[in-house]
Point group: C2
Chain length 227, copies 2
DNA sequence: TAGATTGTTAATCGATTAACAATC
DNA sequence: TAGATTGTTAATCGATTAACAATC
């Protein structure tokens, strides 16, 4: 029986699928609000309501975090929150610097939700000297020349890249040379980085393409019936 | 032979995968810059460089748009751009209204790249009366009470939802009652909508979870070798 | 105990990759 | 023609779903 139990935890060794990782934050959000309501246990069935998921998918995802539930009761919410946070890496704060204080960059600097997501933006940088010194949501914009020292003394590992496509590649290299190990890339450019640097690309165009295609297609589908 | 040719175009009828749709914008971006360089043809091999893709994936994706290439030459860039834009629905402007002029909303209002992506935000709205009347990136913020009439007279089909989670659901319903057919949802909430309304959810937490997990895991992987 | 819910194994589905014939 | 590149069919892979035994 003890052997059985360990097997669930061992799943952690399987390479976790990106699909699973992307679903975990939604569970977390729901779990927190259930916890605020004073509930103690939750079933995979309830959690599945967070999107349009099958309960068995939820159980598979949760198993990946090493958590074990109780038949008839479900999962202990408190335990589950801790397990998911630990699994993602949100149980400790990750410090990040933001490079590129334009529209999007400024918005991210003011994004309070990051507090809930284990991310703390501790420094803002920009190439543009005219922006240097300004306060954006309480953070002073610093010149790029101070990046390397800042990253080292503050022990920052993550960088948010929010500059135009043209200079994104050079800036990213500079960030990595400064000690950054992971880049959240909001520029519409593919970054070629050494293997030990993690890059996560974020591109609004992707979601918009899916949305607009579905909208045009839905319209097409109904008018096609006229044939 | 003519029959063979038509079969490629016929692929359009297959339900297109979301994965494919998400890749198309990146091809488009590269195609445009190749066109600016004056090139006329491109191979699937070159396009594959846009991410870390296999050329055969690119050919499959392009086939979904109905385009047909030429052996040895590749694809005519001009034709290909038109085909992708048409397929996604970016060959005609989609008009959108933005609801929620906070940090993120303001940033999106100033996001010039949407011009390239067939999206034109023609109106900005907010619940907060104090924001009404302000100009954000040239657009005046309007009160929610004017939404329905605006949507109808301007023939707007798309809505960008950038308000806090708490009121997102109610606001979304109101948008749909006002005539909106598609919602680009930036609030961390699942929206339950009638089947004929398309919802595309955008959640930064997903990408961040993937990034942070990979970063922690990479670190764990190297330190694990010490055992 | 009976019943609800978990965890696991097997089946299905769809997307990616491999292999290769067609063709300019 | 020879060779590069396309388009297609078959094989592989991985994720989702179905089925069900385990268990509180």
């Amino acid at each position: 029986m003890a052997k059985k139990r360990r097997s669930a935890a061992r799943q952690t060794r399987h390479k976790t699928s990106v699909a699973c990782l992307r679903r975990l934050p939604a569970y977390l959000q729901m779990l927190r609000s259930l916890q605020n309501e004073g509930r103690e246990y939750v079933s995979s069935n309830v959690l599945a309501g967070v999107h349009h998921l099958e309960p068995v998918i939820v159980r598979k995802d949760l198993a990946a975090t090493g958590i074990v539930g109780t038949p008839r009761l479900g999962f202990r919410i408190k335990e589950l929150i801790a397990a998911i946070e630990h699994f993602i890496g949100w149980d400790h704060r990750t410090k990040g610097v933001l490079v590129g204080c334009g529209n999007l960059g400024s918005a991210l600097l003011g994004h309070r939700r990051f507090n809930t997501l284990g991310l703390e933006i501790v420094g803002a940088f920009d190439h543009d000297e005219r922006k240097v010194g300004r306060l954006i949501h309480g953070l002073p914009v610093m010149p790029m020349t101070k990046l390397a020292k800042f990253v080292r003394t503050r022990n920052v590992t993550l960088g948010l890249l929010t500059i135009p496509a043209s200079s994104a590649r050079d800036t990213a290299s500079y960030m990595v040379r400064s000690g950054i190990r992971g880049i959240w890339n909001f520029a519409p450019v593919k970054l070629d980085m050494p293997d030990d640097v993690i890059v996560q690309k974020e591109d609004l165009a992707e979601g918009l393409a899916v949305l607009v295609h579905h909208m045009s297609h839905k319209a097409a589908a109904s008018s096609r019936n006229l044939n």
